[in-house]
C-alpha cells in the first residue's frame, strides 16, 4: 500500500504558511482548514509540532488570545522571514509539480 502521507512531506509546511499568511490563525482552526482543502487525514499530532518548528525557525510569531469556547488560542502570524520562505515554497512547488506531471502524463 502506498502511504499517501509521504506526499505531505514538505507540502504541509508551505500550505500552513499560506493559510496563516491570509490571516493569523490558530492550530485547531488550521487543522480544520487543511481537512476541508483535501488533507483529510491531518491530525493535531502532525500540526502542533510543525507549528512549533516554524515558530522556532522564525517563520511564525505567536500570541495567546482568549477563546469564547474553550482554552486560550495560540494565534500565529507570518513573519517577514516566513513570507519569504512561503514565496520560495510556492516557486519550488510549481517546479516540482511540473516535473511530476511531465513524467506521469502519457
Amino acid at each position: 500500500m502506498f502511504e499517501r502521507s509521504q506526499l505531505n512531506k514538505g507540502t504541509l509546511e508551505g500550505c500552513i504558511l499560506k493559510i496563516i499568511g491570509r490571516e493569523p490563525s490558530y492550530g485547531y482552526a488550521i487543522v480544520a482548514a487543511l481537512r476541508e482543502a483535501g488533507f483529510t487525514d491531518v491530525t493535531e499530532g502532525t500540526l502542533y509540532p510543525l507549528l512549533l518548528r516554524l515558530e522556532r525557525k522564525g517563520m511564525l510569531s505567536a500570541a495567546y488570545q482568549a477563546s469564547p469556547n474553550g482554552p486560550s488560542r495560540k494565534y500565529y502570524s507570518l513573519t517577514e522571514q516566513g513570507a519569504q520562505y512561503l514565496a520560495e515554497f510556492e516557486q519550488a512547488w510549481q517546479t516540482t509539480a511540473a516535473a511530476v506531471e511531465a513524467i506521469l502524463q502519457d
Copy 2:
C-alpha cells in the same frame, strides 16, 4: 531557505516506478530521465538506495545486462505489485496536488 528536496519525498518513488513501467531501465539512465523531467538535483546517491528499497519490497525485479559503454547495467522491471503500487501513487498524487492548489490559489 526552503529545501526543495523535501518536496521530492514520496514523489520520487512514484516517478521512478512510472519511468520503469514504460520500459525496463537502469539507474544511470533513470537519473538522466529524472533530471530532464525537472528533478534537476537528483543524484545517484538518492536513486540507488531507492531502487534497492523498491526491489526488496517486491515492486521491481532486476537483471544484469552487458553495456556497450562500461560496466554491466542493472535493468529494473515493474512487477505486478509494483504496477498496483504505481496506480495508488497516481491516485494519491492527484488528490494531494488538488489540495495544495486549492490552498495556494488566491
